[in-house]
């Protein structure tokens, strides 16, 4: 499997981090995240240490740092929220760069940002060094309920199919003169998402029929 064939979050490689058993990596990630979340937000040096640890693992895995950073755009909605907090929160005010903001709000925003960023980066590192199917095998080895592992497996399998479905719908709408960037087309986009949901739901039913036809009784082999 070349890198182009793997999942889009996966970075093909043969480092020690890539080779480590998936269930171990999941355990380490969960333990690390619990520690990060439990750390009081004014222990500033601790967060620097966490960040260094994640970066060290990324470098050890020989994944380009930029590769991980570029995929961190997923965090943007949280960043926006974190930036708003100091302006909205109450309590004693303080001046930062000529703006009057709430002091506890500032601290809360810092905590959200620091913990969120480290969490997203650590998760992306797991995704970049472990194939999705291996993550599933790892979760099953950790005795996660089979039903949940099955649902996650289907999600991975059908994510591409549903995305391709949406892509085709967008192409057909664009071919009929819609501009997805214009707010005027937002109602249409909303209806498209509704249609996509129905389509995916119906596909789910067809997949279930196909599974029943091959003797499915609730257990994946």
């Amino acid at each position: 499997m070349g890198a182009g064939h793997g999942h889009r979050l996966f970075f093909h490689g043969h480092s020690a981090v890539h080779r480590a058993p998936a269930h171990l990596k999941v355990l380490v990630l969960v333990g690390f995240m619990l520690t990060v979340v439990a750390t009081p937000r004014d222990w500033y040096p601790a967060f620097a240490g966490y960040l260094l640890a994640v970066v060290a693992v990324v470098l050890l895995a020989r994944v380009p740092l930029l590769y991980v950073v570029r995929r961190m755009v997923i965090e943007v909605p949280f960043v926006v929220f974190a930036v708003l907090v100091p302006f909205i929160a109450t309590g004693p005010r303080t001046d930062v760069l000529g703006l009057t903001v709430s002091e506890p709000g500032l601290l809360a925003a810092w905590g959200l940002l620091a913990k969120g960023t480290i969490g997203v980066m650590a998760s992306l590192t797991l995704a970049a060094t472990t194939e999705p199917t291996d993550v599933l095998v790892g979760l099953r080895r950790l005795r996660l309920p089979d039903l949940i592992v099955q649902i996650m497996g289907f999600m991975i399998r059908y994510l591409d199919v549903v995305t391709a479905d949406l892509g085709r719908m967008m192409v057909s709408m664009r071919s009929r003169g819609m501009n997805p960037r214009s707010p005027r087309s937002w109602p249409t986009l909303a209806r498209t998402l509704g249609a996509l949901f129905i389509r995916s739901y119906e596909r789910g039913e067809r997949v279930h029929l196909a599974m029943l036809s091959r003797g499915y009784t609730g257990q994946l082999p």
Binding site: H5, V161, V207, A210, L212, G215, T217
Partner: protein, 251 residues
């Protein structure tokens, strides 16, 4: 005559919304036959197919597979005997790799270890996809996925293979490759299709379903050359295709 592999008698079915899809359908398919099930859109072909392995339950009439009635009590055995290949391979291939997907059916039958692996590789060999066992299904071409979908069902060693629109969306080469594969299999086939030349090429016998009734059952050649019948049931041969102009059929 011996017990038919597929014995559908007086089958009637209405959907929960009241729409009546089948009105007393009789179809018999005997061992080793390849039968085409023809009919316009909305004729009830898919509804009939879903009765064959007990996904839908007959409103009236009965379905039996090699003498075993399709009833709740032995659904597992019925689903082993009747292998359905659905129209969209993406609905049928839902596991991480081709091997896992083909193993899904036989593993549900209780096969394990070396016996399971052997069953999987035999099925993949039959459709010429053994080299792709480790690949994820969504990285294959459409024609390859259709062939793997056939293998997923063959791995259960069915008594009858039911194919829903097997030639749809295939390019001519994949279409011909699939025909070669189907001809090479030693299994009874019921093929639902709109592709009349394909039906003529593969199936000596054809059954025409229209508005929930069986309106014709004979040799495919006779059905396709009966202009009045064809017109009455919205069946049309592709432009320029004349069954009379073909002097011998392959296989």
């Amino acid at each position: 005559m011996s017990t038919p592999v597929l014995d559908v008698r007086g089958l009637a079915y209405a959907y929960p919304d009241g729409h009546q899809a089948l009105f007393g359908v009789d179809v018999h398919v005997y061992r080793g036959e390849r039968v085409a099930l023809l009919g316009p859109n909305g004729a009830g072909k898919t509804t009939l197919v879903l009765h064959l392995n007990g996904i839908l339950t007959a409103g009236a009439g009965s379905v039996a597979v090699s003498g075993l009635p399709v009833e709740k009590a032995h659904l597992a055995e019925i689903r082993r005997r009747v292998g359905i290949v659905f129209q969209d391979p993406d609905d049928q291939l839902f596991m991480g790799t081709v091997r896992q997907d083909v193993a899904f059916g036989p593993a549900n039958l209780g096969l394990k270890g070396a016996a399971l692996e052997e069953r999987v590789m035999t099925a993949l060999d039959m459709v010429g996809m053994a080299d792709f066992a480790g690949r994820p299904p969504h990285h294959l071409s459409f024609g390859q996925r259709r062939r793997v979908a056939v293998a997923t069902v063959l791995a259960m060693e069915p008594e009858i293979l039911v194919l829903d629109e097997p030639s749809s969306n295939l390019d001519p080469a994949s279409r011909r490759e699939l025909a070669d594969i189907l001809r090479s299999l030693d299994v009874t086939v019921l093929m639902v299709t709109h592709d009349l030349p394909y039906a003529l090429e593969l199936c000596p016998r054809a059954v025409v379903l229209s508005d929930g009734h069986v309106v014709a059952d004979g040799t495919t050649y006779d059905v396709l050359t009966d202009a009045a019948l064809m017109r009455a049931h919205r069946l049309e041969l592709p432009f320029g295709f004349d069954p009379r102009a073909i002097d011998s059929l392959p296989g």
